[in-house]
Each structure stands twice: as C-alpha cells, then as structure tokens.
C-alpha cells in the first residue's frame, strides 16, 4: 500500500513526461501544416454524377506543397485484347496486387522542381511512381508495358490524375486545391496526404482520411444485393411479376 502522497508524485511525473514530450516535439512540428477538407465524406446518392472536394490549409513559413490522394487498395487485373482470326479477344493479363483504386497528385509547381526524383520515389509521389506489385509470371519488359497501360487506362477513366497548376498558394501561407471524383469513383477509405517541401527537402506531412460511400436507397440496395443475395433475387422476381401483372390489369381495362 503506497502513501497517497507518493501516488500523487507518480502521477505528476507521468504527466510531466507527457507534457515534456509534447513541448520537446513542438519545434519539429513548428513547420507544421494545418489541413481541412470541405467534407470528409463523399456521398453517392441517387443524383450522383461525380463530386469535387475542396482541400485547404495553411503552412508555417513558405514552401512547396504536394497533395496526394490515394483510394482503397485492391487487386486489379488488366487484360490486353489480341486479334485472333480477325476478332478481338482478351488475351494476356497481369494482376496488380493491392493497387490503389484512385490516385491523384496536385502540386504548387512541377514535381521535378520541388524535390529530387529519389525523394519523390520514396514518398511515391506521382502516378508513375506508385508501387505496383504482381505475382503474374512474365519478363520485366512485358510487366512494365502492362504497368504503363494500367496507369494510362486509369487516367482515361479519370481515376488517376495529376494536376500541377491546380494547387494555389496564397501569400506564401494559405493553400487550396480541388479533388475531383468521377462518377465511377470506387467506394472505401481514402488517404489525403499533404507534404511540405523546403529547398528540396521534406519538412512535414499531414494525413487526413476521407470516406467515399453510397448513402440512402442506393446504399441499401447495394448492401442488400451483396449481403442477402438470395433475398435480393427473390424480391427482384416478385417486383417484376407484380409489375407485369399490374400492367396487364391496367391495359385490359383501358
């Protein structure tokens, strides 16, 4: 059994340590960035035709800003069509494991003026530098061809994008950028990362999560179709039978 005083002393010591750590850490975070999004949830509902988010924030001291947005990672397969007897058929394919479904880079100026390629590579900034792994057998050159085609196809679908002129810095401190989401945006958790560079070196990074989800009736239908597939099928049949029967009744009277 410890005396009350000693217990109090121990609490003080623990709090002191925590506060100390916070204050000691403060100088490093002095170069910090404050970021926020116009919304942290992109809702896909009946009228959804795509969305645009506003990202804004401030830095302490001037520098270059790079924003990356990474969508949920999943295995994606890319197939190449080949001509067989005059007809185009899907032929060779490569599966990229845990590839980001969505990826965007926005920067205040061209990336190569912000930092050295090695640094960008390490941070995976720019869609050409994303790590894509595959276990599909094949020589390096052909995997590379598929990798390029993968990024190109994603860009055509507006799921991968790069916009260098988009990020505006106001008076060297405030910045803002838009994040566009096309109508085919995959659902899941997204990670928004804001990097602050000074003289070619990374000074600070700030991460913010973001969710893209279906809401309302659309979400209920989608979830129901996946979680209760048999019931969904039965209900689809029942609705169709009723609609057909009902139409017959109406027009027989008319």
């Amino acid at each position: 059994m410890f005396p009350v005083k000693r217990r109090f002393a121990r609490c003080c010591a623990i709090f002191g340590a925590i506060f100390g750590a916070l204050f000691l850490a403060a100088p490093a975070a002095a170069q910090s960035i404050v970021v926020d999004l116009s919304t942290r949830e992109v809702a896909i509902s009946t009228g959804f035709t795509g969305a645009e988010l506003l990202l804004f924030g401030a830095t302490e001291g001037s520098g270059d800003i790079v924003v990356t947005v990474e969508g949920p990672r999943r295995d994606e397969i890319i197939r190449r069509k080949e001509r067989v007897a005059g007809i185009w058929v899907n032929g060779a394919s490569v599966t990229f494991e845990k590839a980001p479904a969505y990826y965007r880079t926005a920067a205040s100026k061209p990336l190569d003026e912000i930092a050295a390629p090695a640094i960008l590579e390490k941070l995976q900034i720019g869609s050409d530098r994303i790590d894509l792994f595959t276990r599909t057998a094949g020589d390096a050159a052909s995997v590379l061809t598929f990798r390029d085609a993968f990024i190109r196809t994603k860009k055509r679908q507006a799921l991968y994008s790069e916009d260098i002129s988009d990020l505006k810095i106001i008076r060297g401190r405030l910045f803002r950028s838009t994040i566009p989401f096309p109508v085919n945006v995959p659902i899941g958790t997204y990670q928004v990362t804001v990097h602050l560079f000074k003289n070619g070196q990374l000074v600070s990074s700030e991460k913010t999560p973001l969710t893209v989800q279906k809401v309302g009736l659309e979400a209920q239908i989608y979830d129901f179709a996946h979680d209760h597939a048999a019931w969904y099928g039965a209900i689809a049949i029942a609705i169709a039978l009723m609609a057909g029967w009902f139409a017959g009744v109406i027009f027989r009277r008319a």
Partner: protein, 306 residues
C-alpha cells in the same frame, strides 16, 4: 435527369432509360417478341457493363412476359404439360448457363462470349426469318405454288420416353422438349434474353406444335426460366440492377401496348421481314464491335481475391 444505378455503379439519364424501354417495348409489342435480344445489346452500347446488362435484362423479361403469359392462359393457349417439360429443361439449362457465366466472368471472357453468342444466334435467326417471310410473301402473291408439308418425320421422333401432349395434339419423346428447354435455358443465362426467338421456331419446326399454343406456352416457360436466371445471377454474380430493371419495365409496358395496337394493323409477312431485318442489324452492330480495333486494347477488372 441523371440517376445513379446502384449495381451498374454508373449514372444514366432516367428519361433516356424510360425512352429506351418504351422503344424496345414498342417493337416487342408490335412483333410479339420479348425484346431481350434488342435491349441487352442496347444497354451494352450505352455503357452498362455487359454482365449487369445480361443479369438485369433477365429480370426485365420476367415482367415483360408475365402479362402476356397470363393473357394467353386466360384464352387457354398454354399447353401446361409441354410448358412444364420445357421449364424443367430450362431450369437445368439456365442453372448450367449461370455457372458457365460465372466461370467466364472469372477468366475475363464473358464480354466476348456474350458478343459472339449474339452474332451467332441473331445472324442465324434473322437470316432464317427474312428468307422464310420473303418466301411466304411471294407465295401469297402466287397461290398456285406447291405447299410445304406440315411437318416431317425424322430420327427425332424415334427417341424413347414418349409422352402425350393433348393440348398440342402430339405424342413425342419428352427428351425433345427437355433438350430444347436446356439449350434455350443456357442462352437465356448468357445472353440475358427470354429465348423466345429460338424457342418459338423450335416449337413449330422441331416439335411440330400448333401455332395457336406456341406463343402462350413459350411465354409460360420464359417467365420461370428468366425468374431462375434472375435469382441465380443475383446470388452468384450480384449483377441484377433493380433500379435499372424497373425503369426499363415502366417504359416497356407502355411501349408494348402501343406496339401491339400498331402491329395488329400490319400484314404478318411484312412484320416478320421487318423484324428479321432489325435482328440482322443488331447482329451486324455487335459483330462490328468484335472486328473493329478498340481505341484502348487494355481493360481493367477487379482481381479474384479481395
């Protein structure tokens, strides 16, 4: 008015979909066909993923054929015995078809197989229709030409398990309608159609059924087979989009009524020639997508394991 389709995961104009349903409904009412063979390719042309187009269309055909089936039932134009044998075959075929569909989807060949099936069957059926109705049209102008025999006896009539189909005035092997049912069931699952365009000629020319019961019996079995396809596609592939199906149903029931009224004023042979030409046009359009060099050779899909 854009509407987001939860299963197709895309946004389309609701009025356009109603209009599309109305247009196909008009043609199907006029020609007395289900319309699935027109609707599925059209959905694919406007960008709906082929797998979703096929699954959803099966659901729409349930609605489109049930009112027709009920109307024929009331008039006594359904041979239930024949319908049930066809339906059992259809259940077997559509179950096999959906498994095949799931397998082909897994290996990335479903879009290709859907397109090839369309080219093949629309090409054959369209050509036969046009040839047959042009002949009939000439015969009607020249009545002295020799008539064809009503039906031929072939090895098909020597098969075992003979059954009596009183309503159709037939005594034939049950294996024959069962086999037709299986075959049409597979087509229904892969092409997203009712299969009437194959079923009706098969009933007339292979089984030798009287024309009065052909359409009613075919509709009767189509309701059950497309219901089975809807169920299995929902369970195996989650490719049935209720929102899309309902928009198409609403459009098509109205279109079908107007079409039926217009169709009744036209001559049989001319209607069949027109239908044959439409079938051939759809066939040519699908064939074109297979032959023309795609603007992007690469396509993306979500990998097998998540």
């Amino acid at each position: 008015m854009q509407i987001y389709l939860p299963i197709a995961e895309m946004s389309l104009n609701a009025l356009m979909l109603l209009g599309l349903g109305g247009m196909v409904g008009f043609l199907s009412g006029m020609f007395g066909v289900g319309g699935g063979f027109l609707m599925t390719p059209l959905l694919i042309f406007i960008g709906v993923p082929p797998a979703v187009a096929v699954g959803t269309e099966a659901n729409q055909v349930v609605a489109a054929s049930v009112s027709g089936a009920l109307a024929h039932w009331r008039r006594g134009n359904v041979d239930f015995r024949m319908g049930i044998v066809l339906m059992i075959g259809g259940f077997i075929g559509s179950t096999l078809g959906v498994s095949l569909f799931t397998f082909l989807r897994g290996i990335g060949q479903i879009d290709f197989v859907i397109a090839v099936s369309y080219v093949l069957f629309l090409g054959i059926v369209g050509a036969l229709m046009v040839v047959e109705s042009v002949r009939a049209w000439f015969r009607s102008r020249n009545p002295s030409a020799p008539r064809r025999k009503l039906h031929y006896h072939t090895w098909l009539h020597g098969l075992p398990f003979k059954m009596r189909f009183r309503r159709s005035k037939l005594y034939i092997s049950a294996l024959l309608p069962l086999g037709i049912g299986v075959f049409v069931g597979i087509l229904a699952a892969i092409m997203g159609v009712g299969g009437g365009f194959v079923m009706v000629p098969a009933m007339i020319y292979l089984l030798g059924m009287p024309t009065s019961v052909v359409v009613g019996t075919s509709l009767f079995q189509i309701v059950f087979v497309t219901a089975n396809v809807t169920f299995l596609q929902s369970v195996n592939n989650q490719t049935v989009d209720i929102v899309l199906a309902m928009l198409l149903v609403v459009g098509s029931v109205f279109g079908a009524q107007i079409g039926a009224r217009v169709g009744s004023r036209l001559r049989g042979e001319e209607v069949r020639i027109a239908l044959g030409l439409i079938v051939l046009a759809v066939c040519a359009r699908v064939a074109w997508t297979l032959v023309v060099t795609p603007d992007n050779l690469y396509s993306l899909g979500i990998g097998g394991t998540h």
